[in-house]
Amino acid sequence: MKDCKLSINGRNYNVQVEDKWTLLYVLREVLGLMGTKEGCGTSDCGACKVLVDGKAMNSCTLLALKMEDKEITTIEGLGNSDKPHPIQEAFVEAGAVQCGFCTPGMVISTKALLDQKSDPTEEEIREGLSKNLCRCTGYVKIIDAVQLAAKKVKELK
């Protein structure tokens, strides 16, 4: 076990980790942050996306020890049902949530996308979400949601 200092959602955590533990494992099993999901464990589905220094990355293939000195944001850091993030609101309002298993990853990818481009085209949205699989929605309402989210975020600014 090694000491590992992580900065997650603005809080500092000191955890003991094994060399091989992934960030996803530490989030879920050590810190109990269950919002981030595991859909494949092989970096193919995007369910485990978190923001690492603002970039959407698959936490299932990131080693926790390598995450020291980085700023990590998980779905819990964006908002919760009392104070939802506009992207989360948009997903709910647009009907983009069915089973919901892909949703945290989708929301994280959307956040990264909108941080880059505040007014993405549909094509850019599809491109931006291309690393996130969803088996329920056919992505149609997810695209709507991202567009709605873009509007909401802009209004806030």
Partner: protein
Amino acid sequence: MTVNFKVNNKKVEIKDLDNLSLLKILREHLSLKGAKCGCKTGDCGTCSVIIDGELVRSCLVLGKNLEGKSIKTIEYYKDEKIRELQETFTRSGAIQCGFCTPGMIMAAYSILEKNPKPTKKEIREGLKYNLCRCTGYEKIVDAIYDASGQVNTKKHIIASVFKGNIGTSKPVQAALEKAEGKFEYTDDLVFNNLYHGKILFAPSAHGYITKMNIEEAKKIEGVLDIVTCMDQEYWSKDFNCHITSPFEKLVRNEKMFNRHFRYDGDKIAAVVAISEEIAQKAVKAIEYEFKTYPVILDVKKAMKDDSYPIQKDNNIAARNIGYEIGNVEDAYKDCDILFEKEYHTQKQSHGMMEPHIAVANYDGEILTLYAPTQNVFGFRSLMTEIFDLPYNKVRVIKTNIGGAFGAKSEVVVEHIASLLAIRVKGTVKVNLSRKEEFLCGKTRTAIDFNVKFGVKNGKFKSMGIDAVLDRGGYYGSTIDLCYAWMDKVYKLYECENIKTNTIAIYTNTQNSGAVRGYGAPQVNFARETAINDYCRDQGLDKIQFRLDNLFEQGSKDIATKETMTSVYVKDCLTRAYEMIEEKRNKWEDENYYYGLGVAVGVHGNGIGLPVADFASSSIKYCADGSVIVNTTVHDMGQGSTIMIKKIVAEVLGIDDDLVTVLNPDTNSNYYSNGAYATRETWVNGNSVKAAADELIKVIINETAEIHEKNIEDLIYLDGKIATKAGDLVATAAEVVLHRMHKPPFKEIEATVHFTNPQVPGSYMANIVISKVDKKTGEVKVEKLIAVHDVGRAINPMMLEGQIEGGIHMGLGFAISEEVKYDKKTGKLETINFKKYKMFRANDMPEIHIEIVNKPDSVGPLGAKGVGEAALTAVAPAVIDSINEAIGSNFNKIPVLQKDIQEFLGL
């Protein structure tokens, strides 16, 4: 600092232990939750483990002292001795709620390590640090004795390896998991993003909070919210912790947090935080000022007109509750002899090994309460009332219970956990420490009785019993308790004229609530002691006098005039007297006075009309011939699940392994009142019996339709349907499969709504031999004979287990247990198991139990309930034995060593 040690032969390295106890390290850092926390102060033994071969209570060991040590816990399945003990405990019925079991097994392990062939006495000595509130230790001692390979000369029941349902013995549901430490109680469950609630209790026994400041407490990092008695919010409205349905018109005069606090366990605020430690820190940081009111502990003082009002106008919770059958006063005039005397009983704690705990989740829409409750539907009603939520938005799920005895039938922390969960919109746990449990848990109602009776020609002619109830600060279940004790007066002795009367009084003590027996142990102590006193005064034979007056088969319920369905109390008494060798009332030797005490008793079965006392049950046949039973029984170690399984299996003629009973959950289960009033065997048992009978009809109908036969020609037997001539038509499984795979697609099930038709008595006789030390005044109950009439025994081993556990509680009621307050301040004194003395394994007498195994004509397959009957006659028999031994006239329990010393002038 890093500490290295071994747990179950695995190396463990732990850093920054601070001052963590080994118990906490095991449970929270290593996720080994087999060791339980029953007190955290070294008094209960539920946390026992072995360190380097020595039995220790892990709550007392600091992690930083563990360097180089080797620890064995209940989870060490590789150790054959532990495995063997787990199996022996299971087979022997040594497990009820199971909360003490892991600790007991570790203690047993240590006993046998040191002494492979211990005597029973040595076993009891070795168990003295481990408390059990369920079993009376009998079967635990037997299990350890068996595990030592010695031949037990006492005839004792072990689980049957034979098939067969009624009358064969089975351990309680999940007994082996309990023995393995795998059975998850509420504190063992894992919840994500769990917050913790802590309660601020009143500063004294009676007063009023004038000011409160929560600002400093709120500033502590990690504190999420604080709710207090100063808030004028929806949670400051009045409620009653006992409400089980919205139709109950009970007086509501307590609040969740009481600014006018009425005992020192009253709650005045609560904090929710990200950890228990932070919540506790914040509780301490709440500042307040208060003024005090006079503290009234004594009912006689509280009753006076000029007494300070604890509740609104005066201290009378209820008065003139009573009934009269015949004409008591007139009848007294016609009697040869009149007898009259006062009797007093005390407040008793439940002492279940698992304190109150609840976890609530609120997701913005639905409140889900996970609690070890005896009454999921009652709790749901109360939550809907308090939080003004509709029924479909409140879900109560019963978690595994570590003992209850009535404690978990009224809310104590469940509403607080729910409120905090709603406030933070998340999941909140409230887990009481043992001290907090003693402070705010309910107690048995202390009752002062005046017993009067008149006898003519050796028979009761007239009897009047008046009672003054000490209800503590709030109304709660006052009215129920009035009727509960009075109901027990007309079901035991023949007597044409009976009168009862009750006054219930508020005092600055804990709220009285439901405790195993619910009024019966109190009135039974008073009446039976009165009869013993009368017989001693008159020089009568106390056995014969009872035999001349007791109910017998064919006797009529004096109140309803209906013939009782079964009454074998005379058989109980006669048999108990046969079983005792010493047939004299008193004798002595050089060191001791000996006395023989007698008592009989009665307890009811269910609540009975006019209360809605019913249970719905539905049974579904699965496509492979197994069945799922939807009925609501709250198993807390008393064995109600296995009881239901056996009844259904017997009616359907299948093995009980093929029967599954749902866990209580208000979202999925059929309605039933809770597990109280000894109603689960009688009401739920009858309900599933009726549903199983109905299911047979359904399946015969379906078979007739499928196979084009006449219904009248078909019979059902052991999972098969045949013609009356004996030709097999189909198995039940085939019929189900047919219906589920061919039109008209449907399931095979039957539902019945069963209402309790009457409340028969469960009867018992207890004979006790005690000895009193001439020099010290110490009492040792040497032998206790208990013969019970509880109808037909469905599961003899666990039936015995119930009686043994009841005896344990009854013995404490007689001579060791009493909730005590400082006379001046009203502060609770009995705040731990050192001060609140429950019998330990080495205090218990030799116990002999027999069942008058005669079926009741209405009971499910002839059975009646036993849970509360178990302790009803214990205390009066014990007190009688003392009074005989030393010639005293104790009329007040508990009789403590100091009372005897005083009497003997020691």
